[in-house]
Every structure is written in structure tokens, then in C-alpha cells.
């Protein structure tokens, strides 16, 4: 029933003209300010992600200096949860019940967001643009108050499938995946993408995070006669897989998931010369890529980094990510106009039509609807040339 009302509301929103809307507020919004809450791991095992929270904070500071959104300043309240789910629950409750934010935004981590998923939806407080790639956040029917942002694992896997079907329709595919929900999420997207052609997969092997190496799995894949390799592994194992495949002389077309496409922490330890030809995907402009040296958006971003986040590392793609996702939520709030209710925030976020922050790769846009809560759904493939990633081909996905 609630879903129905929600859907009707979304349709109505498409027809209504926001200019005539009256001022309407939920907790956390007023004529002067909009309060947004966030949790980030500033400490603990995942503190490398903490820079995302800092770059978002800096973005809102810039926005406020420029006059805010529709005359309202953004108050961004961000707490450290050390990547610990119980702490996230505590902090999310603090944000909702004590700080009374309009919504939470970019809470980071799959387990952390799982911990507050039910709570946010029960409280009907938007859990906007969660910072995780799991596919389960795109579930408007059962969780109408939660939305992801980045391309999820399944859409990324489908992009590789599209490329395989186009360039190598008779491929024999071998898959290596990490045996947990992250690995299975990718695998599901891969299977769904292949559909009736699932028989192209000649071998699927898995490994446990606790395994010391994936050497024997690579040997098995080579023995299966596969000539395409889809590598669903986290950084350490990705480096091992690339190295082992090269060392035993197995030369398949190698697709590596986006999770592990870091040159510094994966390809360098694997050996740059051994990584030549590996294919991965991207959706955001990497500031270290020489292709963007004269890009206007990256130029603006550098200005922003210099002025508002001087301690931030400009080589860290997470800072481009934080900037881009903050720009997206700013756009949603602009669209909300004077109707700053929680329902309208969800409604506007679910009616983006081709808008894009310019720091995304050219051609990648954000489109959402009442039954599509996945904002960025396309990626562009890239191939490693021994020095850096080179983008190629068209943007894949919706």
C-alpha cells in the first residue's frame, strides 16, 4: 500500500510544476538550512575511505560559500563509525533522533548500511546514495527509502558480458570469484547478462578470503581451455592471479573487476609488464590520467581541492568520487526547491533524467525512476597499456 502511494506520488511529481509548490519542511530543513547526516570510517581498518567524508565536507563548505542551495546553507554532520556496524547503528540513531537530519547521505560500507537498512526504512528517513557497490540497495519496492549511487557489481559484470559477446562470441569463459556476497553479486550479474548463453562458461572456481593464494585455481582455469578470464577478486588475489596466469603462460582475454583496478596496489605488485592488456572498467575521471590534464571539470576539481581540502591527496580517486556524489545530492536538493520533505527528496532522487556531474566519464549520465534506484549504471571499459589505463569503446550499460 505504501509503495502504491509512493508510486502515485512519483507520477504526480512528474506532472506538477515545482515553481508553484509551497514551502514544505520535514525535520532537518528550514528557510535557513538543510541538515544532512553521514557516517564514515575516519579510523579503523577501512580508514582509507575516510577521505570521502572529508571531501564531501569540503564540497558543502564550497557550496555554502557560494550561497548554499536555493538560499539555504548545508549543515553536514559526519561521525566516525570505524567501519563497525554497531557503531553505525548508534551514529545513525544519533543523526536521526538527536541531530534530526533531513536524511543521511553516503553512509559507507556494505555491513554498516545493512545494519541500518531496516531502521532507516522503518523511520522513513532517506538513506541516500550509500557508498557501497552491492546490488541490494536498488530495491524500491521493499526499501523505498534507500538508494545507492555508484554502478553496482551486477551492472558492471553485464558490461563485460556485452563486450565479450560483441568481440568474442565463441569465447570459452573461465571465472574466478571470491566466495562471499561480493563475489556472488558479480557472478549473478555475469550469469544474468549471458542469459541463454551461460554455457559459454567452461569453468567456475572460487577461493576463500582466508586462502593464502589462488595459484591452483589459475592452473585449473588454464587446464579448462578457457580463452576469456573474468577475474572477480579483491586486490591481493587479483595481483596473484595476474602474475600466476602470466608465469604459466596462460594468455586469455583478461577482465578484472573495478574493485581491483588500482595501478598502485594491484598492477604494480603483480608486475606492470605482466598486466599489459588486462581489461577493467571505470565511471569516474581519474585525476592521474594524462587524458584529463586539460579537462575543465578536473581543473575545477583541482581548484576546489586546493582551496577547500588542501590536505587531500590529488592522486586519490576517492576525492573525485566524494566531489561527484556530493554534486549529485546538491542537484537533487536544487530540484526539491522549497519542498524539503523526506518524501520529496526520494521523489526527486528517483526522477533524475540524464543529469551528470562533469567529473563522471563523458557519456555517463544519471537516470532514475520509481522502479530504478540505481543512479550510475554505466561504465566504460579500459585496457592497461603497461603504464596506465586507456579508456576504449563506447559507454556500456544504461
Amino acid at each position: 500500500m505504501i509503495t502504491k502511494v509512493f508510486l502515485v506520488g512519483l507520477v504526480a511529481a512528474g506532472l506538477a510544476l515545482p515553481a508553484h509548490a509551497q514551502k514544505k519542511y520535514d525535520a532537518g530543513a528550514s528557510d535557513k538550512e538543510i541538515k544532512i547526516g553521514n557516517t564514515n570510517p575516519y579510523s579503523g581498518p577501512a580508514s582509507a575511505y575516510g577521505t570521502i567524508g572529508k571531501s564531501i565536507t569540503a564540497y558543502f563548505k564550497m557550496l555554502n560559500d557560494q550561497g548554499g542551495i536555493n538560499g539555504r546553507k548545508i549543515t553536514f554532520i559526519t561521525y566516525d563509525d570505524s567501519y563497525s556496524p554497531p557503531k553505525t547503528v548508534e551514529m545513525a540513531r544519533k543523526l536521526v533522533e538527536q541531530d534530526e537530519v533531513l536524511f543521511v547521505f553516503q553512509t559507507l560500507g556494505t555491513p554498516s548500511n545493512t545494519a541500518i537498512h531496516k531502521y532507516m526504512n522503518m523511520k522513513k528517513v532517506p538513506q541516500m546514495y550509500v557508498a557501497t557497490g552491492a546490488t541490494k540497495w536498488n530495491d524500491p519496492k521493499n526499501h523505498p527509502w534507500t538508494m545507492g549511487w555508484q554502478p553496482n557489481y551486477q551492472s558492471e559484470a553485464r558490461a563485460y558480458v556485452a563486450h565479450i559477446l560483441k568481440t568474442k562470441p565463441n569465447a570459452k569463459i573461465g571465472v574466478l570469484y571470491q566466495n562471499d556476497d561480493y563475489g556472488k553479486d558479480y557472478l549473478k550479474g555475469f550469469h544474468d547478462g549471458l542469459g541463454a548463453k551461460k554455457s559459454m562458461i567452461v569453468k567456475e572456481v572460487s577461493y576463500e578470503v582466508s586462502d593464502p593464494t589462488v595459484d591452483s585455481q589459475i592452473v585449473q582455469l588454464q587446464a579448462s581451455g578457457a580463452d576469456v578470464f573474468f577475474n572477480i577478486t579483491t586486490p591481493k588475489f587479483a595481483a596473484q592471479a595476474i602474475r600466476k596466469a602470466y608465469d604459466i603462460g596462460w594468455k586469455p582475454v583478461h577482465y578484472l573487476n573495478n574493485v581491483s583496478n588500482s595501478v598502485g596496489s594491484v598492477l604494480t605488485p603483480a608486475g606492470l609488464e605482466k598486466s599489459v592488456g588486462v581489461i577493467s572498467s571505470a565511471y569516474i575521471k581519474d585525476a592521474t590520467d594524462t587524458r584529463w590534464t586539460n579537462d575543465a571539470a578536473i581543473g575545477q576539481w583541482r581548484e576546489f581541492m586546493k582551496k577547500y581540502y588542501p590536505d587531500g591527496n590529488q592522486a586519490d580517486v576517492f576525492n573525485v568520487y566524494g566531489y561527484s556524489v556530493a554534486a549529485t545530492i546538491a542537484q537533487v536538493l536544487r530540484q526539491c526547491g522549497d519542498n524539503l520533505t523526506r518524501e520529496n527528496v526520494m521523489r526527486q532522487a528517483a526522477s533524475m533524467k540524464g543529469w551528470r556531474p562533469e567529473t563522471l566519464l563523458p557519456g555517463i549520465t544519471i537516470t532514475t525512476s520509481a522502479d530504478d534506484f540505481a543512479p550510475v549504471e554505466s561504465v566504460q571499459l579500459e585496457r592497461f597499456n603497461g603504464k596506465q589505463w586507456e579508456l576504449f569503446g563506447a559507454v556500456l550499460g544504461r
Binding site: 567524508g53 559526519t78 561521525y79 566516525d80 540513531r93 533522533e97 555491513p111 531502521y119 556476497d181 561480493y182
Partner: protein, 320 residues
Amino acid sequence: MTKRNFLVLLAVLVIACALPFLVSNYRTFQLTLVLVYAIALLGLNILTGYSGQISLGHGAFYALGAYVTAILMDKAGVPYWATVPAAGAVCLVAGFLFGLPALRLEGLYLALATFALGVSMPQLLKYHHLEKWTGGVQGIVIAKPEAPAFFPWVGLPLNSDRWLYFFTLAVALLMFALAWNLLRGRVGRALVAIRDQHIAAEAMGVNGALYKSAAFGVSAMYTGVAGALGAIAVQFVAPDSFNIFLSIVLLVGIVVGGLASISGALYGALFIQFVPNIADEISKAAPWAIFGVFMIGFVYLMPTGVAGAIRLLLAKRRSP
């Protein structure tokens, strides 16, 4: 118990009962967590404070208790209150069994053995043959218990947060009363004797191995009960919730609160619940550095913990 102590206890109880009606639901939830940590710290204090064995792995028993509750509630539909004694029982047995071989190790070696337990726990919970029950890395989301119907009937405005607080308070009181009875009698004296001079203790007829294992078991049971209550309050368990840091924070809690002191558990719990939040508000860049400053400050100013400092203060006032 002196009349004075009794009055203090009564006052604390009255405040504890009134608090949830004076603060927001969110604060009530935080206070519930304080009680949960207090029970866990009490457990660890029995082991470390009283019998002198250092454990760096009590987070594992906390996790075990939490998972027993979550699995029973989620898979078997057991009501939440019934899972708490079950979690305690499982941890008692697990603690006793772990204690038997581990207690042949002394001092730092025991600390290392328990450290191994604490480090491996999150990975064991992710083990894929157990996934059917544990939910793997995804963890288990459990339903929040509702306040029973008779409360509004009595005229108390009780939402589920307040109810959970009182439920936890009742369990905490029971656990504290048990510990008080246990530690101030024969068993407590035997444990302290083993800690201070185990050869002399054995000469007096104290069975060292048995007492040590029993202390380990009881200590694990307390921590398990705390884990169970924590899981019910947070409504979610996942391997990442119980990393080695939890074990270390528990150890910090008993040292700051006061070793070998029952009331110290409460002070320690307040410390580990609220100081990280204060540190985070002071600096986003280095919350743990601020936490460290607090910790050094406490240890330097109150070398016997908060409980010890209060005891000292009272003694000074009494003596002319």
C-alpha cells in the same frame, strides 16, 4: 553491606530507573549499551582483575553470545529473553573448554593465546560451511523486541527502547549481584590468592587449575550474556562488528574503570561508550589520538582506575 553502601546503591538504582524517562530514545539506547558493556567488563574483570589472567580475546566470547542470540531468534524463532541464558550457557561451556588447555599458559603466553582467539573470530564467523546459520559476511538482522502489553496498562509510557533498557538493567543487576556474591566469598578470595601468589594458594589447598578454568568459564559467560544483550539492542550482528579491537577496548575499559573492582565495570563502560564519541567530536582527523590522550590522562591521574580513585578520595575524607 553497610547502611551507607545500601543507600548509595538505592540512589543509583532510582537514578537508573528514572533516566530513560528524562532523556531521548537515542540516549536511552546509548545507556543500554553502557549496561551491556558493564556486564562484559565485569566478566573480564573476574578473569583479569581478580584472578590475574590477561585475556586479549574476550571480544570472541562477546561475538559468540551475540551470534547465539541472533541465530536462535532469526532461525529458530526463540523469543529474545530466552536467548540470553542460552548465550550465557554456550559461552560458559566454551570458556571453560578454552580455559582448560589455555590455562597451562601463564601471563603473556595466555594473553597471546586469547589474542589468537580474538583475531580469528571474525574469520571463523565468515566460514562458508557455517554460512547457513551465520549469514556469512552479510550477518543477521534481527527484529527489535516490543515492550510487553502490560506496561501501558500500569500507566508507564514505555516504547521499545525504554523497555529494552529496563530489560538490560534487570539482567545487569542480576549479574552484578551474582558477581558480588561470588567474589566477596571463598571463591573470590581463592582467585585473589592465585593471582597474588599461586604457590602459596595451592599450599593452602586451592585447586589452581580448576579455579582458573572456572574463572575463565564464568568470565566468558558474563561476556556472552553481554554480547546477547548487545545484539538485541543493535538488532544486527556481522563478523566485522567483533574484530580484535573490541577485545582491546574491553581491556581498556577494565583498566580505566579499576581492576578488581565491581563498580569499576560501570565506570569503564561509561568510558568506552562515550569517550570515543567525544574524541570524534574534537577531531575528525585523529579521533584515536585524542582517545589515546584521554587514556593516558586517566591512567596517569588515576593509576588504580576510576573506582580506585573514588575509594582513595573517600578514605582521605574519612581520615582526619
